[in-house]
Symmetry: C2
Subunit: 551 residues, 2 copies
């Protein structure tokens, strides 16, 4: 592997650990816990791993050394997030610190490698090449769901064969839910395998009192904010385009909100607000047109609009339309298949209820076709294929034309579109994410050594300097409630959506009108690794605000 | 203006100057020059500014002080490029060094501000906020062409009113051509106004023996390479997508080539090579399919493809098709207007010559429609609207299906698309671009003080440390030849396309097969401002190779 100049130097960065993890550690047990909701159901489903205490590590002045050597397996599950490699190197260093004979195995390409017995041993030589780098390419990742007993049993075989005592699953809310199910299963069958989860999601939706942020969010948002800032400079130099910028985040708008706080765009839509206020597509288009026409009055025919990827699914009327479309197309498939696209659109429109027919007719033709033609393997409309940024700008252009004809608008409107997702998911971690993920991994090794199972690695107090961070473990069942998934009630970790009463949202909301009707862009610039701490080590604005700090 | 943490610290960076520009300078005259071609025609068109000598600055041990104070005007012309603000601050500092009473005026929103007398004085307080930042927002930029005597006369009025002695035009090849025309015009009418050009283009196509690189190229390529690197990490972690990445650069592929050297993608198309080898769209699709199928044999169904923005216009058969389409649509407009899109496609196909009809039929329908429906204000097909990245991936998908049916391919193919342009044009300049642009500006001030006109600011020897850089001026006429533009022969600065015998291309070509059939991605990471010099001050790989260095 030929390394870039930055990679070579960055490899030597030694991530910072919380003070309590430096040296020998002992476990402090907290009080027994309860799940966030549906306590009886969750308790019944997790008889062996429910109600466990929160645990915290303390410095151990009288360490009782040396444990037997043991082996650990890891799985990287789901989408990539910056810092995954440092979780791995943190676990590795933690294990080696406990006993030089300990071994670490990585299952390849996600849960599939565990189920199908594809793995590699991770040695010091291999780890060395991946310290402080982005990506999950050290062992690969995958989206296979680890959720049924056959898979658990198949995995158990390879764990036994490799003499593995504990499995670490690095993943999002679903993967950590599955980690809890697996922990319970192995406990139940007496398999003597610990399962530890590590909280990862760029989207930032795996978050609660104990998990202050999921790793990768900080880095990804800073990459997106860098390029958004660059686009805003361009926008404010050329003064002729509206840039519609879609950002990752299907189930929550944390990324869009963080980027808005970082870059101060003219508009940032927040899906959770759209849902709470039961906004229609029309409301959103009207709001954008209002801002554009007010700016035009000041001679400004340019601006920026941030859009969370999942927006469409948060618009109640669009959800209704999509639900009815699924039924209508399903019921009339044979007949529809014989029609040309134009005929199909007309036919479908006639079959929809009046409200949905009206909304359907108001959509740009390309979008309506997309909604009517492309179906996923379950026969459902593929909402994720809709280019929300183009949908909005097309509808905005149309509305502005109507306003111009009515004499209500006399500006110029031209749009550019962007979508940022893959650009940030595998960036080299910021110092914050590098330290945080290394600590999560190292801490996971200590949790394994302490014998617990069904826990998530937790490092907290993150807006303080890293030596004051608090390290420990949280029983995963504590974060669960029951939710309907594919028609069945399932125990799952509650997703953290943007809290409309939280400080990050309120901060943005308080600036919104000012940002819309002025040009107050901020330009965060690229992630820095070597400069002053206020540039290199600063946590996300979301985290700072959530901890009562100012930005 | 609320500044980001990085902006605050970066504002204090003091750009480095060539040693010869530190302190007092005197001018060393070289030999008279000739234009690169069409010497007689160019000489006839530029009787007052043809044949001037190359000039170079030297340290002046016996400076004859103090000149009368004078005023200077500047215009930012065309697309933004990182470093424009440092050209301005370099000119400002140079002027103030010469005489504290000197004043600098900026014309607003490009040449239009000059013609229409919209300007502002640039004071120390204003300049301070823009040092080392990206964008052209200090005074704005614009694309109005400054090319006719009415404009020159109108501009002259405001120059006289503001007592301006010299005008600096910061722009690309066209803007610098116009700067030469303006210099000649003012000389001819005895207006006593100097005109100095500063070489800017992200595309990198304003380049020759004297202008080693145009500013902004370094920064923009590093931003693009950062995100391409991130995408490649993702690609190599998830191992399930081909990423088709289109990059800025309509008239030359320097950006794509530089990014390929920086990131080592599996495929990088070079427009100049496509033209030289008279490749067809089919050839290109076949090549991509060859790489994909070879990779599939090794179990790799992922990869990256870099595509220069201008590719389509370099494919000879596509150029032919577009030319005939323009004629056919023009001649049959009335009839075509009555048809539905599908009927229109069929009709047009029947009207085309056999070779073009075949190519037209092979295009994805969406692209064919785009080519047939959207016309620019001159009635021409809008090639720039074609999403080349989608065109290629759709055609590749179709071909792979055919190959699969013929038993020649058994992989999986899924594509993601990206286009990077606005993401890099206004980034904060790298140390290289910050130093280079500041030096170009400072040097321009010294050229003005030395009394020359029709010169381009030139700072050379750029792969050496900045104190060894050579500063001086090049007569713009020297870079000119005659070319046909809109049917007329015009004097223009020769565009520098990728040289297929040059070291940057040959280096890439020598690695191409290896990069295609392996996975050797490089991850340059974000631009760094504070770290070791080998990371922060490194020039582009193109420049290093062109100067005989290794990368």
């Amino acid at each position: 592997m030929k390394k870039s100049a930055l990679q070579k130097v960055r490899a030597d960065y030694q991530p910072k650990l919380p003070k309590t993890l430096q040296g020998s550690v002992k476990l402090k047990m907290g009080a027994p816990t309860e799940s966030v909701a549906n306590q009886d159901e969750i308790k019944a489903l997790f008889p062996h791993t429910y109600g466990l205490p929160v645990v915290e590590f303390e410095h151990d002045d009288n360490p009782v050394r040396v444990e037997e050597p043991f082996n650990v397996g890891i799985i990287l599950s789901g989408g990539q997030a910056p810092g995954g490699h440092n979780v791995v190197s943190g676990i590795f260093d933690g294990l080696k610190k406990l006993n030089k004979e300990n071994r670490l195995y990585g299952f390849l390409m996600g849960p599939a490698g565990f189920i199908n017995h594809q793995y590699m041993e991770l040695t010091a030589g291999i780890i060395k090449d991946y310290r402080n780098t982005g990506g999950f390419d050290i062992i690969g990742s995958g989206r296979t769901k680890l959720e049924n007993p056959d898979q658990f049993d198949s995995g158990l075989k390879i764990l036994k064969e490799l003499n593995i005592k504990a499995l670490v699953i690095i993943g999002g809310d679903d993967s950590n839910t599955n980690a809890a199910v697996l922990a319970e299963y192995y406990k139940n069958i007496g398999a003597d395998i610990q399962v530890i989860g590590v909280p990862k999601t760029i989207d930032g939706d795996l978050k609660n009192e104990w998990i202050e942020t999921s790793f990768g969010f900080d880095t990804a948002c800073k990459v997106y904010s860098e390029v958004i800032g660059n686009i805003q400079r361009d926008c404010n130099s050329a003064k002729k385009y509206y840039h519609f910028i879609k950002l990752m985040g299907r189930s929550a708008s944390h990324i869009a909100l963080e980027c808005a706080l970082e870059t101060q765009p003219n508009i940032c839509l927040i899906s959770e607000e759209v849902l709470a206020k039961k906004m229609t597509l029309d409301n959103i288009v009207n709001y954008i047109c209002y801002v554009i026409s007010e700016r035009a009055k000041m001679g400004w025919n340019f601006g920026t609009v941030l859009i969370p990827e999942g927006l469409i699914e948060f618009i109640p009327s669009m959800k209704d339309l999509i639900a009815e479309l699924n039924d209508v197309i399903e019921a009339n498939q044979a007949e529809l298949d014989l029609l040309t696209p134009d005929e199909k659109l007309e036919k479908i429109q006639g079959l929809l209820s009046p409200a949905n027919a009206e909304l359907y007719a108001s959509l740009p033709k390309g979008i309506a076709l997309q909604l009517s033609l492309e179906r996923d393997s379950h026969g459902n409309v593929q909402v994720s294929l809709i280019e929300t940024e183009s949908l909005l700008s097309e509808m905005v252009a149309k509305r502005l034309n109507e306003m111009a004809e009515a004499g209500e608008y006399s500006g110029k409107f031209a749009a550019q579109h962007h979508f940022f997702g893959y650009e940030g998911r595998c960036a080299d971690p910021t110092n914050f994410d590098a330290d945080y993920t290394y600590s999560l991994g190292y801490n996971a090794a200590m949790l394994i050594n302490s014998g617990v199972t069904g826990y998530m690695s937790s490092v907290r107090n993150l807006t303080e300097p890293s030596d004051k961070w608090i390290a420990g473990g949280i029983p995963i069942t504590m974060m669960m409630n029951m939710e309907r998934r594919k028609g069945e009630m399932k125990p799952v970790i509650q997703k953290a959506l943007v809290n409309l009463n939280g400080r990050p949202y309120l901060k943005y909301a308080s600036m919104r009108e000012t940002l819309a009707l002025n040009t107050l862009y901020q330009y965060p610039g690229p992630i820095q690794y070597f400069g002053p701490a206020e540039i290199c080590d600063r946590p996300s604005m979301t985290l700072l605000l959530e901890h009562g700090k100012e930005i």
